[in-house]
Amino acid sequence: GAGVSQSPSNKVTEKGKDVELRCDPISGHTALYWYRQRLGQGLEFLIYFQGNSAPDKSGLPSDRFSAERTGESVSTLTIQRTQQEDSAVYLCASGRDRGEKLFFGSGTQLSVL
């Protein structure tokens, strides 16, 4: 595709429910990131996929968070048993390789009631 695509754009869920967020990176991009951005805050690193290497999961805040990537394509971020503090915009970004610019998706606005 022309850019990084994320779905859904908005998700409202009840506390305790599981949610799945999807990211379609730009074709051919080996690097894929997930970041979390709370209202008025910075970009909090969550997880990094680079080609076929083991992902860097060091930013995942708890074991309720997990992410997968199929080869060099789609990635899903799953949050189990959502809490109100999970409310944020979740941004996905992809890049051609190390040291290359990142292209960001428009994000998924997650609201946990």
């Binding site: 970009l43 990094y48 610019k101």
Partner: protein, 112 residues
């Protein structure tokens, strides 16, 4: 590992200049600069790589001091469109992993 940005916020009048700084305690492979406008995704401005290579917009200038692990973004003759939050991101120079981690951001507001 998160880089430190300064200042936290700056207000300018159109035409004035500004400098945003970014520093890290680790040896760096690259420094990235992005701008985010309210309600939008961050947009790429520039990359500065270890060894001196730079990639980015012609109208944006930045520096990277590899010895001090510091980078600065120079905004000259500011325009209203420059308003937004500027983030620096750093990739640590490590063979086994180099995730891009961002600083807390610098809010820039340009007034007419």
């Amino acid at each position: 590992q998160q880089p430190v940005q300064s200042p936290q916020a700056v207000i300018l009048r159109e035409g004035e200049d500004a400098v945003i700084n970014c520093s890290s305690s680790k040896a760096l492979y690259s420094v990235h600069w992005y701008r985010q406008k309210h309600g939008e995704a961050p947009v790429f401005l520039m990359i500065l790589l270890k060894g001196g290579e730079q990639k980015g917009h012609e109208k944006i200038s930045a520096s990277f001091n590899e010895k001090k692990q510091q980078s600065s973004l120079y905004l000259t003759a500011s325009q209203l469109s420059y308003s937004g939050t500027y983030f620096c991101g750093t990739e640590i120079d490590w063979e086994y992993g180099n995730k891009l981690v961002f600083g807390a951001g610098t809010i820039l507001r340009v007034k007419s």
